[in-house]
């Protein structure tokens, strides 16, 4: 930029006269005198190796949009990949609300000045509590894998036991996050992850194996509904009973969009439920739309006391009929007690929480029932059409919600080949399971939701028919 002053539109006080006036008030010649606080040997004296500024908004926008345009979106191609981040329809009102400048820009402003943010959070908690049928809901954080790991650590603190039982067909990605949180087993404070089997015919958990492996040393039994492979788990009540018989907690991982039609974890007797709120009206954002929740029983205060995430309670004010919302037991968190707190909290996913609140309010009980029914009907329609293609087989139980396993062994082609060819038909195929589940052969996990209509599904089927040939 040479000698010309750099007065950026985002830096008002870069105006030389302003800067001079401020320095004069401080009795300083230059800001260098302040930087004298950094010893010379620690000062960086070069020029940062980053490209020169793209100055105008117009040119910058052209440049960045040009990069983004190299992406192909799931509005351009049909997307049938889920596996932890799912394409559901996002109502326009959700985007309208979460794009409001006040919500986009707010951070940790106080109970009064940011009141609306707190009220919306409480409404999210209240509506999610209805969906999962549990009285306690905490403020969501990063994603499902993270909150599953935190739920296990929570169970460890509550029970004083250091092992959890997890179904062997849990999402491998989720499991990696869990293992990071649970520490290497050699460490004294580690939480040990043990596995129980799943039924290769149905995709449900193997209750016999759970019975055989469970004893009084486990902090929790975890199960998922639907399972990672898409099956609706019908044995939740039995899992809960087994866990409780052995003094362990029952922790359910759930996809909340299923809960208009499926029995919620609270009704099944789960002590803790966790999962991802991304399906509730949040764009996929290449996975950035994910956000994990923890809900829990509140008949015993231990669950709230050991919950690692922020908790918000409703309060009243000096004026009758007025409500406020404030953080409860703040001492419990890392903000209150540093390394003596329950895990840690940090900047998490507040905007998605508000988006999910709007979504739940828009959908209501009718919307949730219908979206569940449509997901089931259309995914089964897709499975039916795909299963009719020579060499293609649908694996596992017919009890699935929106995801199902499609096996291509009979086609003589790999999933990778199928998916690559599907791109030529402007289709993103299902998640390739071959590396994760070798016993399933050349299989992919397909996801069909209310987003995909009959024509989309038929396009998929005819494309698969062609590429599998």
């Amino acid at each position: 930029m040479g000698d010309k002053p750099f007065v950026h539109p985002y830096i008002p006080n870069a105006v030389p006269a302003t800067k001079r006036a401020m320095l004069d008030e401080l009795g300083l010649r230059s800001v260098e005198e302040i930087y004298a606080e950094i010893p010379d040997r620690l000062r960086f004296k070069g020029t940062l190796d980053i490209p020169p500024a793209i100055r105008s908004e117009r040119e910058l926008r052209k440049h960045v949009q040009g990069l983004l345009d190299r992406n192909t979106s799931s509005l351009e191609f049909l997307n049938f990949c889920g596996a932890g981040c799912w394409q559901h329809y996002v109502p326009a009102v959700v985007d309208e609300v979460i794009n409001r400048a006040e919500f986009v820009s707010a951070y940790c402003g106080g109970n009064y000045s940011d009141l609306g943010k707190y009220l919306a959070r409480f409404e999210f908690n209240s509506m999610l509590g209805e969906l999962v049928d549990l009285d306690g809901v905490a403020n969501p954080i990063y994603d499902w894998g993270d909150v599953a790991g935190r739920s296990f650590r929570m169970a460890r603190r509550i029970t004083g036991r250091d092992k959890v039982l997890v179904p062997a067909h849990i999402s491998p990605m989720r499991l990696m996050e869990i293992r990071t949180l649970c520490q290497p087993e050699s460490m004294p404070t580690s939480t040990k992850v043990r596995f129980y089997e799943w039924d290769r015919e149905t995709g449900m958990v193997d209750l016999e194996d759970l019975r055989a492996k469970l004893d009084d040393t486990f902090a929790a039994v975890y199960w998922e509904n639907p399972t990672y492979l898409g099956t609706i788990e019908a044995q939740g009540a039995e899992i809960v009973a087994l866990a409780h018989d052995h003094g362990a907690l029952a922790i359910a991982g759930v996809d909340p969009i299923t809960l208009g039609v499926l029995t919620p974890p609270g009704t099944l007797g789960a002590d803790i439920a966790c999962g991802d709120i991304q399906p509730l009206g949040i764009h996929m954002h290449a996975g950035g739309g994910c956000s994990g929740f923890i809900a829990f029983r509140d008949d015993d205060p231990i669950f709230a006391q050991e919950c690692p995430l922020e908790l918000y309670t409703v309060l009243e004010t000096k004026t009758p009929g007025q409500y406020a919302v404030a953080e409860a037991m703040a001492e419990r968190t890392s903000y209150g007690s540093r390394d003596q707190g329950k895990d840690w909290v940090g900047t998490a996913s507040g905007l998605w929480t508000i988006g999910a609140a709007v979504y739940m309010a828009l959908m209501g009980p009718q919307g949730f029932r219908e979206v569940g029914e449509t997901c089931i009907a259309r995914s089964h329609y897709a499975a039916k059409l795909l299963g009719e293609i020579p060499g293609v087989e649908i694996k596992l139980s017919s009890h699935f919600f929106k995801e199902f396993v499609v096996n291509f062994d009979g086609t003589g082609k790999t999933v990778a080949e199928i998916n690559e060819r599907l791109l030529g038909h402007e289709i993103f195929g299902g998640k390739d399971l071959t590396a994760e589940f070798t016993e399933l052969g050349q299989s992919a996990l397909y996801c069909v939701t209310e987003y995909h209509d009959q024509a989309d599904i038929e396009k998929l089927a005819s494309a698969v028919k062609e590429v599998a040939r």
Partner: protein, 552 residues
């Protein structure tokens, strides 16, 4: 700009300019605007809006959902047939039944009852770097080319995304001096946790994990620098400040041993004090075979002026939602950038983004990796914004950001120190960089009005409530503003005027301040025992109805 506010009058002794004394200046600023000052005659929007759970009418609905077509239902039958016995939800969830306009209006009212940063002149939230988030970036990430990507779609169909992640990583390497990066963490604390796990894996790989069990931090480092190594399985040792507010070097040396994993410390610390001996701390660690990480949540004032690598650190992090302009979104989604040297690079979480020729790749095959801290690719919305912001600033712009944030901070400091009851503990004679931790201990002693009451009063003038301090309150009755480069001189004057006004009120009529707020959507909160007591807290409306309403 009000030229009167910045006048420096020539003619002091020896020809040096003399200025309006800070005390006189804050007295003038602390009047309402119509009286020549900087205070707004403000009132927050007040809608008296009921909870959505109490609104609506059975049968109303906010949106139509696609229904299965006739051809679909003819082919597969009823959805209920595919739900196993016992899994068919018996009672519908008790959710609002409300038409679309009414739902939208409800949440728009809530947005108006949120001051946020864009309306609130958010100098207030120190340690958070509340800078302007360019609107153009929001338009970029809301388009389908960004918002509607699936994380597992073929690499070839998201080359733009991968290029942005990769190049942002290169820029952050230049800014920190580090060799490698990941942008997977979902926030600053998450990046700090990533560090604890990377260090854990480093020593696990060397067979030293049994021996090295202790992580060192300082009390003025962010709480996550203490909490996340605990979660990773380490014992945490916290070093307290010496009389000058610096971490005590002797105490630090005494804490380091063959059991030390490393340190996780913030510099500049939350006090705004840059530790001039920071490289000595790093040396002590390295001599003991330990590692050094610096939390760079407070990096805004040192961009282009100092790099973590040059002080010897093995790793550092940045908050893309603070220093690099991505908005905070009511506490997320956010992006933590974790940076490290080649020594620690093998342990980074998967996948990492690499470049081969002109193609970008996601590399998963990394056997030494810690695994994952977050699913998929992280929150790359923040990466797009950071990328765009860095490209818009360039190397000179980044230095200008740092310089003006430091100047702003010292200018505001000059005014605040002229306010009765305000003090600035520690490091007398040393200037702070990006922020300052002040104390209202004197005000509390004199008037009974402490920092929480001032926080709840200041918002009545239309500025955001200030960040007091992380716990514990080593500085009594603390508050921590951070006037980053976004704020104009008038903004700074206004903020000082608000604190001046609160102080004046506290000395004149302390009860009035203790009863604050007075110009908000609601009055002061009651039944605060619910914050701690099981039979009183209600985290959901259903719990409230059972516990509180049911008991009435």
């Amino acid at each position: 700009m009000n030229s009167q506010c910045s006048r420096a009058v020539e003619g002091g002794a020896g020809g040096a300019p003399f200025k309006e004394a800070p005390q006189e200046k804050v007295a003038r600023l602390g009047r309402l605007r119509r009286d020549g000052g900087m205070l707004r005659d403000y009132h927050a929007p007040r809608y008296d809006e009921p909870f959505i759970m109490e609104q609506g009418t059975p049968g109303e609905r906010g949106i139509f959902v696609p229904l299965a077509e006739e051809g679909v239902t003819e082919a597969v039958g009823a959805a209920a047939d595919y739900i196993p016995e016992g899994m068919n939800r018996a009672a519908a969830p008790v959710l609002p039944e409300m038409a679309q306009y009414q739902v939208m209006r409800h949440y728009l009212r809530y947005s108006q009852m949120t001051l946020g940063m864009d309306l609130g002149s958010d100098i207030s939230e120190g340690t958070c770097t509340m800078k302007y988030s360019p609107r153009m970036h929001e338009e970029l990430i809301r388009g389908h080319k960004a918002a509607d990507l699936h994380p597992l779609q073929d690499e070839d169909t998201m080359q733009g995304l991968l290029e942005i992640v990769y190049e942002t990583g290169q820029y952050l390497k230049a800014i920190s001096g580090m060799d490698a990066f990941t942008l997977e963490p979902g926030g600053g604390s998450h990046a700090v946790f990533t560090n604890a796990c990377v260090m854990r894996r480093y020593f696990e790989a060397r067979g030293e994990l049994d021996q090295r069990t202790e992580m060192i931090t300082t009390i003025f480092s962010h709480p996550c620098d203490a909490a996340t190594p605990m979660v990773a399985g380490f014992k945490v040792i916290t070093v307290m400040p010496d009389e000058n507010g610096y971490p005590d070097l002797e105490a630090f040396k005494a804490a380091v041993s063959e059991h030390t994993v490393g340190c996780m410390i913030t510099n500049p610390e939350d006090t705004g004090i840059y530790n001039p001996q920071i490289d000595k701390y790093v040396e002590v660690l390295h001599d003991a075979g330990a590692l050094a990480f610096t939390d760079q949540a407070n990096a805004n004032g040192i961009l282009g002026y100092a790099r973590a690598r040059d002080a010897g650190f093995d790793a550092c992090h940045f908050n893309l939602h603070k220093t690099f302009s991505s908005p905070h979104g009511c506490e997320g989604p956010a992006t933590g950038a974790y940076m490290c040297t080649d020594k620690l690079a093998p342990y980074l979480p998967v996948p990492i983004v690499t470049k081969l020729g002109d193609r970008y790749h996601l590399e998963y095959d990394r056997p030494e990796s810690i695994g994952r801290v977050r699913g998929f690719l992280g929150n790359w919305m923040g990466v797009v914004r950071a990328y765009s912001w860095i490209r818009n600033m360039g190397p000179d712009g980044l230095k200008e950001v740092a310089e003006i944030s430091v100047l702003n901070n010292n200018y505001l400091d000059n005014l605040l120190m002229a306010v009765k009851g305000v003090s600035r503990p520690y490091a007398e004679g040393h200037r702070r960089l990006d922020q300052v931790r002040y104390s209202l201990e004197q005000l509390k002693e004199d008037t009974g009005v402490g920092t929480e009451a001032v926080r709840d009063r200041m918002i009545d003038f239309g500025v955001q409530s200030y960040w007091m301090s992380h716990h514990p309150w080593i500085v009594p009755e603390p508050f921590t503003p951070e006037p980053c480069e976004t704020y104009s001189k008038d903004d700074l004057d206004e903020w000082a005027a608000v604190i001046k006004r609160a102080s004046d009120e506290a000395y004149a009529d302390p009860q009035f301040v203790l009863d604050a707020p007075h110009a908000q959507a609601i009055e002061q909160m009651r039944r605060t025992e619910a914050l701690e007591e099981h039979d009183q807290w209600a985290f959901t409306w259903r719990a409230y109805k059972k516990k509180i309403r049911g008991a009435e």
